[in-house]
Amino acid sequence: MNRYTKTPVGAHYGLGDWLLQRLTAVVMGAYTVGFLVCLAMHAPSTYADWKSIFSGTFVRISTMLFFVALLYHAWIGMRDILMDYVRATGLRLALQTLVALALLLYLIWSASILWSR
């Protein structure tokens, strides 16, 4: 086999992704703590309570930031898992494609939920 052959589903960009996985983790951790504090303070119970929490621009944008960080974090994590356990390149490519498509769908879905009505 040609020693310069590259696998299209390998990690040629390890360190950058490794670092971004940490940065996105910090973003999500901060959001998680903030969201729990918000829940503890407002104790939302009715539809109107929840609606008003998610109608503020700050909450919408920080929640969207949380989801974007989550989806990038999930991409790196799922890719790592697939690279570790799925040895056949074709199957790995297929599964990584499915993961990427799912994450894009999640992104669009989360934006549409946060900005609907």
């Binding site: 490794w18 940490r22 983790a25 910090v26 951790g29 998680t32 539809y47 929840w50 609606k51 998610f54 989550l70 999930a74 994590g77 799922m78 790592d80 898992i81 570790d84 993961v99 799912a102 999640y106 879905w109 989360s110 939920i113 609907s116």
Partner: protein, 142 residues
Amino acid sequence: MLDSAPPSRPASPTTRPASPRRPKYYDLNLAHLPPPGLVSILHRVSGALLFFPILPGLFYVMQMALGSEQSFAQCREFFAQPLVKLAVIGMVWCYAHHFFAGIRYLLLDVHVGIMKQPARTSAVAVLVLGVLATLVIAWRIW
């Protein structure tokens, strides 16, 4: 190992020298893992479960809960069922464990607690905190 690879990654079994005569033996019982190993594999499993099915489930619930008064009421009814509450508690554990294990990895990355004994202690702390946080949420939603 700590200098060459991020500590969250266990060494791959394929890096061992190949020997066709040596019998293969994999101890697949998770209870035999030392605490850091248990934290590691549970971090993986919880992460995969968070990607699917927990995340799409969360989006669906958000869509229903924020959609209208009627769909919000349907949500309430759905989450009042004991089995659903149990499932939610399992999902909360996935998030809590992933959260605390992630903080431990971030600390290990900046070389906090990388010696054997502190690493074991922090691994046990992660396991305990994950369960405790889940119990607090369980008490709040029941």
